[in-house]
Symmetry: D2
Subunit: 325 residues, 4 copies
């Protein structure tokens, strides 16, 4: 039985990756696609490699009132742009919101799928985590759950590829010539992903995350997020690795590694890689998390969440190994 | 029923991509992997994102005498390194040779799968085309078959990403710092891919290809091949496009486009994109072909060939849409 | 004695590179800078590494009537945007136009500085060659002058880094995520650089260039142009190299090499590298030219032209060796 | 009067950049070059853009006993390879050691040129700082000197382009295909640059640096180092910026910026950019330092040190503005 699926926001990178994953999903049938910048085009005009059965689907302008009958809707809109429209359709369709408007919002479940799958199953409105939170929280969750680190004393130095920041036409900062061979910190002390990380750390760790420090960096690569996280705690490296192995035992998408993880290990997949290095003598624990910002950091986790709320196997459509090199 | 599969040459990029495709293939079960540089490692040590069911497979040193019972063997060895070993096992296992040693060799079928699928079906030893020939010949085949261009007057200006040339440890020319922001022609007037292109052009085009000119270039990107091919003929652009659309009607992996093709359209897939621009007043036809050098240019076409010789659907394991951006 | 210099179009890449070269020039004093996108900013706000003595210069909106007294003006405006404004100031200031509006225009000298330096000396209005012509014509000039190739039978397959195409904010095609790992042909059979190349080939080669074919490609790198040029002629490789060595004897910025040239050899410099590979049996000559599209392909050659028309040593301010890697 | 200069280690990236800067230096005359991998070649064979006056210099195998009469020697050898040889020549020639063997060694002055220029003037043996220390210590020095941060509580999250790690032929980790689109931490809790940073922090800051944490990362770009440094202190952002502006008043190569610095601002130059963001309520100070790892992080600072010990203007040969984009 196929599930009728729509995507809103297909002009963006997150929406495009959702399209790729839905196109290869065994139970999803794409019947609706909307996008601001590409409305009126056929899918094949925007995505030349799309399978022929989807090539002729015409991209619509997003209009909640004109939504066809759907079982499931993926939304991937800029922050601030999704709340009103999704409110109008939320009663009639399951929604996974890849955008940022509903994280920890009333009536929505925060979809940190590898940590809280049971909370997600059976829900109808999922707010997908941001890309930085996906990398960071996946690495921290076991340590927080096992009380190996202090929730109030966490410094996140995060790095993202440029598809995590936006599209080239929007801003000359994302132009190739400007971005290539360039590395920079941005949004110091005030990034929009801070609140969802603090909230989640508090839920996981049993204490205030008021001391949280988060510094994102833009790295000259297309995809990938690495979070290098400096924590206080007395655990050894092995205790941290064991904690993560127990916490994620049987989970399909998490790889606990004893080598520092590399972003390219995850490219094109829904995998997250976590590792740890600790120095108990200095009460230092370094946690590291790697995801593809468009995979586990956006559309991959969104499909995982959709599988959970649709009663499908969690890994459906997500089994592809990463593309390397 | 699953088909028992082995890979020889898993340390190279072509072998690694074969592994990725085999891991996702519905009918192939990987039971053997051999590689010079990685013998003794578990697959997961070399490919951290490999599915857990394959993680523990130990990479062997390639030894024809010790080959376990297999139905199908993919070989991806450096030029000159495969002939002897494969000769010893060729009687007992179907082989797709991704390497260059058996192209147009006695007893081997040249596996240009989108052009001559019927010749491949039922064979047991397939010599997979090189990455430059895959891009070039796919673009030229319809024009040659329809006699729209002269086989004796073809100039191929080809460009490849660096994974098409070799691995970093082998040669400082392929180092990141040396290669990034660098573009160069190489192998002028004497590249190893010349003979298989000339032979195929002659088979397709009904005349000598003695005038063939081929200039490869190294481009600072990981994957992708573009061949820009200058031909003599009086056809219009539309006639060329029509020729290709007819020639490839119903073929799953070829996309005929009226816009110039881009290498990133094909990344991670087995697709080939072809397009044409012609100026009949000057008897000029420009043919363009794009492939992923590790996809249609190596492991993708190899799996397609394997499907054909194993009696499977041609697209099995190859349906994934390209990874973009 | 210092020469009072202005730049119009400092927001673009060509204007920015002109600024860098002028800042390091022993005889030029920058007293005026205008730019559409950056008017009102101090130079240091846009160019954080600019020497302190220039940091406070405020970028103006380009207004010909308000031009301060200058000896020399560099203009680097989009095609179509410079003609009117420059006409109003051309009587009172020497001009080097890096933009495309005055190439082979009435009253302007085409500034192919390494080929025709004597024509440029003493002039007041110089139209600087485009980046593709700079690479192409530098490689072809000796062969045409020595009648080693046919002017009517030339195919130019040219490749440029993305700074040669435009800035990121202008067009999502030039975005990092969209452009990285992507290679494409564009502007087939109709690029704006065609006429100046045809005109120059005819001047140099004694015959019609009506058969000229030119295909530009966009390569994922910031800087660099390579032209690979397919010509008809019976010369040997050595004859071509000798022709170029004689033609450019004593010229400071041309390097004739027997290895295929690489774009990174030229980065940040005003150098051009030319090489040749020929197969007399097939009457084939391949000429190759490499420049930095912002150096010899734009601002570097502009400063060279400015030196010539100001009576300065041709190499003033241009002695810096390329930046490698 | 020209100073006779030699370079040992010209095959490496640091030695190559020293060559570029020496070639453009008004008082240095290169008379000797030695390099393991390139001995026997002419300079022009390895550095095609080198000025003609240096093109014919033949690269030697490094042999201390055969060193010609020199005033000044730059050494850029792998760690462990320079001590013995330099000891044999140290009595007869001024030395700047770009390599790591003599930092804080007996008889050598640590050449943090922008911080302690007066200590360097008049010396004869200078140990040039590493690239990570150059970025880190330049950012920290003012805060430590003004006691705005605690020396015992510093976390350095540092990122380098791949030329800072090594050459491609040496290690497949530095290959283009392996490194492109890849970001990784490495050398956790044990990098070789730790001791010189701890020593310098203690000298500057009046207290133990035993708590120092340093995590380097490899970023897919050729050049550039960014250190993001998390410190404890109650200063405001403005107090930090003021501290740095006072500390570096009149220093030619340091730019204090109120925007987060970007690596590309420094490319090809000897500049360092420092900035700060503080949150006194949390006693948090984030210091940021950017250098070109081959400029201020290696050969640029080496030439600056050489200028100081030769009694030349500190900026001689180092005035070139950064290459952007």
């Amino acid at each position: 039985m196929s599930i009728r699926v729509g995507i809103v926001g297909i002009s963006g990178f997150g929406g495009g990756e959702a399209l790729r994953l839905i196109a290869g999903h065994p139970s999803f049938e794409l019947v609706y696609a909307a996008g601001e910048g590409s409305a009126g085009s056929r899918l094949a005009d925007r995505f030349p490699g799309i399978p022929p059965r989807l090539a002729g689907l015409v991209i619509q302008k997003w209009a909640p009132a004109a939504l066809p009958p759907l079982d499931l809707l993926f939304a991937s809109l800029p922050t601030g742009a999704s709340a009103e429209g999704l409110a109008r359709v939320a009663g009639s369709v399951k929604i996974v919101d890849i955008g940022g408007d509903h994280r920890y919002a009333e009536g929505w479940t925060y979809g940190l799928a590898d940590v809280w799958p049971d909370e997600i199953t059976g829900q109808t409105r999922i707010a997908n985590p941001g890309c930085f939170p996906a990398a960071t929280l996946t690495a921290l969750a076991p340590l927080l759950a096992d009380r190996l680190i202090e929730p109030g004393n966490i410094i996140i130095d995060a790095k993202t590829g440029i598809s995590g920041a936006g599209r080239g036409g929007a801003d000359s900062r994302f132009g190739y010539a400007e971005s290539n061979e360039n590395l920079l910190p941005y949004g110091l002390l005030k990034h929009t992903h801070m609140p969802e990380m603090a909230r989640t750390i508090e839920r996981l760790g049993g204490g205030s995350a008021a001391g949280l420090v988060f510094t994102p960096h833009l790295v000259p690569m297309t995809r990938g997020v690495l979070a290098t996280i400096y924590c206080r705690g007395s655990a050894t490296t092995d205790q941290c690795l064991d904690s993560a192995r127990r916490f994620y035992a049987g989970r399909a998408f998490i790889r606990v590694t004893d080598k520092p993880p590399q972003t390219k290990w995850a490219t094109g997949s829904n995998l997250a890689f976590v590792s740890y290095a600790a120095d108990p003598a200095r009460r230092l624990v370094i946690a590291m998390g790697v995801v593809d910002n468009l995979g586990k950091g956006a559309a991959g986790q969104a499909v995982q969440n959709a599988n959970l709320i649709c009663g499908l196997p969690e890994t459906a459509g997500l089994e592809g190994a990463p593309v390397w090199p």
